[in-house]
């Protein structure tokens, strides 16, 4: 059983308080949609949860059967898809997946890569440079990367951003597939995406 606990999270930029005293406790099988208007701090909250930014106060901890996970374990178990997390344009899709697997300390086989690319609808485009991909294709590749480490914590910021209808269906399938084994946190202000989370948390 994996768990995420955020206690009294607050974030200020200068004098402006983005949000304060946010508490979250999520276990494997939980999925939550963070909603709210532009500027309410959805993206900031996700960045704090995945520890890309530090909170002004409060703390975030990840657990595996009650044992706190260290930073190295988090790199293997946390995946994040977001419009501002870019992949390398001058590497191919396959090279990107290989690189991030290697740098995480894992290994991914050619068949594993093929299967991931097929899952996100990028079969036969793996050898093309990412710089030649459309925005939607890049978003699909980010999902392939997010699934490559078989995550226990899946964070999705604007999960369907830039995707066409078939891309949106793929994302729904991925969320359904991982819903029971993962903690899923998604941030969105699209009403059609609210239902992707079983719970909702509104900011602002």
């Amino acid at each position: 059983m994996f768990a995420l606990k955020a206690v009294k999270l607050s974030k200020k930029f200068g004098q402006r308080t983005v949000f304060s005293d946010i508490n979250l406790e999520l276990n494997s099988g939980d999925s939550i949609a963070i909603t709210g208007p532009n500027g309410s701090g959805k993206t900031t909250l996700l960045k704090l949860l995945v520890k890309l930014h530090r909170p002004t106060s409060g703390n975030v901890n990840f657990f595996d059967d009650g044992r706190a996970l260290d930073e190295d374990a988090l790199r293997h178990r946390v995946s994040f898809v977001s419009p501002y997390l870019n992949l390398y344009d001058q590497l191919s899709g396959e090279e990107n997946l290989n690189f991030f697997a290697a740098v995480r300390g894992g290994n991914i086989t050619g068949k594993g890569i093929e299967s991931l690319l097929e899952k996100v609808g990028l079969a036969k485009r793996g050898l093309d440079l990412v710089g030649t991909y459309s925005t939607g294709m890049k978003q699909r590749l980010k999902y392939a990367l997010a699934l490559s480490n078989n995550p226990q914590f899946l964070f999705l910021d604007e999960p369907m951003s830039a995707l066409d209808d078939s891309g949106k269906e793929i994302v729904k399938k991925i969320i359904d597939e991982f819903r029971e084994q993962c903690v899923i946190v998604l941030a969105t202000n699209e009403k059609e995406e609210y239902a992707l989370g079983r719970q909702q948390c509104r900011l602002g």
Binding site: Y88, Q90, L91, R104, G105
Partner: protein, 227 residues
């Protein structure tokens, strides 16, 4: 411990290979370093004409060329990550020690390549004596390690700034000054025909400088790399 070290080496190697691949495809750092190095060398050569320079001046000129050429390209390794917004993805997936070591190895490889081209041209254009060439290469090798050790962390710091290019040289210069003085003095001795043992104290200082800089950089990098 053994597994951790092996893991760190393979992760660092992955970062190094990725940067090498990106560089070979864009050639941004290589072009910047070579254009600056060769242009400076040509200017020095034309302005000197046939004048024979003493070893003291030659040593200083050589390290001025190496320093400014390095400043024009070494920061790219982090600037590219920030500009293409891949830094956050790397922060999320990679051990900071592996990122630092991978980029340190990459900068080292870049400078070795630069030195392999600039050094022979410098000796040809300035008509410097090649009598102590092997000893000079030893000093050059240690100097390159020192340059990478001191500038890789500075590159990570300035990558997040708005005015990157100028800031890199300005921030790196005070840290590099003691090393540049030691390199110039030891190069002068070698170019004067003295043996390595005559420059032993300087060489000891340069090796100690590299060890201190690499250790301090590994300890501090995590705090620079993360927000």
């Amino acid at each position: 411990m053994g597994d951790n070290s092996a893991g760190l080496v393979s992760k660092s190697l992955a970062v190094f290979v990725k940067d090498l691949r990106l560089e070979l495809r864009s050639r941004y750092g290589l072009n910047a370093i070579f254009m600056f190095g060769i242009t400076t060398l040509a200017v020095v050569s034309f302005s000197l004409g046939q004048a024979a320079l003493p070893p003291k001046v030659l040593g200083a000129l050589f390290w001025i060329i190496i320093f400014f050429s390095a400043m024009s390209g070494l920061a790219q390794v982090f600037v590219r990550e920030e500009e293409q917004q891949t830094a956050l993805t790397l922060r999320l997936t990679a051990d900071p020690d592996a990122v630092f070591l991978g980029k340190l190895f990459f900068n080292f490889a870049l400078l070795i390549l630069m030195a392999a081209v600039i050094t022979p041209l410098f000796f040809i254009f300035t008509d410097a004596s090649t009598a102590g060439a092997i000893n000079f290469l030893v000093i050059l090798f240690i100097g390159i390690i020192d340059l990478c050790a001191a500038t890789t962390l500075v590159a990570a710091i300035i990558a997040k700034a708005a005015v990157k290019g100028a800031l890199f040289a300005v921030l790196a210069f005070p840290i590099l000054l003691p090393m540049l003085i030691a390199l110039t003095l030891s190069s002068e001795k070698i170019m004067s025909g003295e043996s390595l043992s005559e420059a032993a104290k300087m060489i000891q200082f340069l090796i100690a400088y590299a060890i201190v800089m690499i250790t301090a950089s590994i300890l501090l990098f995590k705090y620079v790399w993360q927000e």
